[in-house]
Symmetry: C2
Subunit: 344 residues, 2 copies
DNA sequence: TTGAAAGCGATACCAA
DNA sequence: TTGGTATCGCTTTCAA
């Protein structure tokens, strides 16, 4: 803070300010251009070995670290792939997916950055993302509208990919339609002869983007069959589960789709504690195929969700970045397969 | 749409390039300075209302979005708080903690960015983070050494905070010593009269940073008591759990600390399937106080982990940023409290 | 009230 | 093989 760069050295102590390539150049006795050549291994230019050494030593001595903002400003582009991070943690499946994706994009030399969601919502948020001038943006959920997409594209994003239930104009889409999960669950229960089917809908508003389509998918599967769907709001507490279980007999349901395996465990416990037999009285099916389902007794039937591999999505992103003019691709990527165990 | 900024009009078609403040200025018929004044509501300068309007209209019409890199390059600093994202998802507790933290820092007008960890490890990674010139860096785990800290500080980070088991020279530390968890668990089992205590250690290498200290803490709690600890490696599969359960009687253990509640569930199921009675033959205690523990039968005793609130950490970061010269603070923040239920 | 211009740090062209 | 220099987009003095 005391010593100003680009001025002759002074003996003043205190925290030195951040070294720049000019400082390296000065210490090595060469020009900034040469420093740049050496540190970037520029192939169009050959630097003599002694000079190389002097530059590298100087850089090391100063602890020089290039300034990413300056570099990408000059370059006019970066390799940053931006993903807004979800407002609430979305479970192990999503976490694993993101990890895998990060790794795969890293292999392709992109830098993945999860942007901490601020209060901004929708196109407001898109503006904040656009300020970072990412080369690609991956947006889970339905926050992003067509104007958001066009804003991002106008700001230089060469690929905008939505991961969610619906396409958005101008963006690539990985269609992950949670309705397929509900559909599979309900169809399975129907095939097992069940006709009065409950569907658990978590009260947690953060889960609504998942729970609503899962419910709708279940409805859809049974349309016109004469089977009936009953919506069952359920908070993530033992008390609420006990309340629901207490009025279970009155509901007259012979099956229930519990949104996911964790809610299945919550409800199953409450039902078993009140003497409901599974699957005799009521069949139960969860979703996500978590380990815990296999550990329940009876073993939990579930809907296994198949997400695309991180490598696949990384490849899509890379393709889009290389060829930004191409028409947006739309892929249906959410597979839903029933895994029948003992609870249905 | 066809015209390229900063060059004489040409008829060449193709994707328009990103509008800059110069474009806004030109369209509004004012200078770039004026644009900057208007868009930043600069208070030291008064701009006439008509001019203001013209600038705002022009910006809207062009879909102008400021360039964060250029801005922070000029300003010499940013408000980015960088957190490396863990290589593997770390469970619901950590996820909730990060969410909360993001929100709290957002309230203080920081931008939280989770940096996708590439192959780089340790001080190599610190370099990559330093390139972004974040105002603060929050590093979970033990990846960061003293040299990494000093590199980051030299690169302008005004606060470096480690979240992990140990202090690092020069950095603020939120000491989250997982050993306390193991310690609490073992002490509890001992107090309940158990003397031959198994400790499950997940084989998953990603969990080692947690599992090792939890084991060590348990060892520590029993040192000199005559009670014995047996390390039990366990993979996250039913098969491995069954294998372990099969040789259970031979092990002669009267209690087990299972690393966390999920491993507790896995092992409990395998033990119950082979006829081991819980807690009569073997007491079981998990950790993290997940919902699933309450749903098991017998209800699972557990060690509840108390993390600092996101707001507290955000306040620490803000304090450190405002006063970067201050001595690093070290806080012991991981509380471990046994919640006894029915399995011990 | 507005504009001209100097940089922030890094890179790549053109000369030497 | 190396150096000078214009440039990326933005902010902020200083002058007008």
């Amino acid at each position: 803070m005391v010593q100003i760069p680009n001025t002759p050295p002074s003996a003043s102590p205190g925290p030195r300010s951040v070294p720049t390539s000019a400082d390296v150049a000065r210490l090595a006795g060469v020009s900034r251009a040469t420093v740049s050549y050496v540190l970037n291994n520029t192939s169009t230019v050959r630097i003599s070995e002694p000079t190389r050494r002097r530059v590298l030593d100087a850089a090391r001595e100063l602890g020089y670290v290039p300034h990413a903002a300056a570099r990408s400003l000059r370059a006019g582009h970066s390799r940053m792939v931006l993903m807004p991070s979800p407002a609430a943690p979305l479970g192990p499946l999503y976490g694993r997916f993101v990890s895998e994706l990060q790794w795969a994009l890293g292999r392709l030399d992109y830098t993945v950055v999860q942007y901490g969601t601020t209060a901004a919502r929708g196109d407001e948020a898109a503006r904040a993302w656009a300020e970072l001038r990412p080369v690609a943006v991956l947006v889970p959920g339905t926050e992003l509208g067509p104007q958001g997409v066009s804003l991002l594209r106008r700001s230089g994003a060469r690929a905008v990919v939505t991961l969610g239930p619906a396409c958005v104009d101008g963006a690539h889409a990985l269609l992950m339609d949670q309705a397929a999960v509900g559909h599979a669950a309900a169809a399975h229960l129907y095939a097992r002869g069940r006709r009065r089917i409950g569907v658990v809908v978590p009260r947690d508003p953060a889960l609504e983007t998942f729970s609503r389509p899962r419910l709708d998918g279940a409805r859809d599967a049974l349309r016109g069959t004469g089977a009936e769907i009953t919506e069952l709001p359920l908070a993530w507490t033992e008390e609420d589960a006990a309340r629901l279980a207490a009025r279970w007999t009155g509901l007259g349901l012979d099956a229930v789709f519990t949104y996911d395996d964790e809610y299945a465990m919550l409800l199953m416990r409450a039902l078993q504690d009140t003497g409901v037999r599974i699957p005799e009285d009521t069949a139960v099916i969860g979703a996500d195929d978590l380990m815990l389902g296999r550990l329940l007794r009876p073993r939990l039937s579930t809907v296994r969700v198949e997400l695309p591999s991180g490598a696949d999505l990384a490849a899509l992103v890379d393709r889009a970045v290389r060829n930004p003019g191409a028409a947006p691709e739309t892929h249906r990527v959410l597979g839903a397969r029933v895994v029948r165990r003992e609870s249905t």
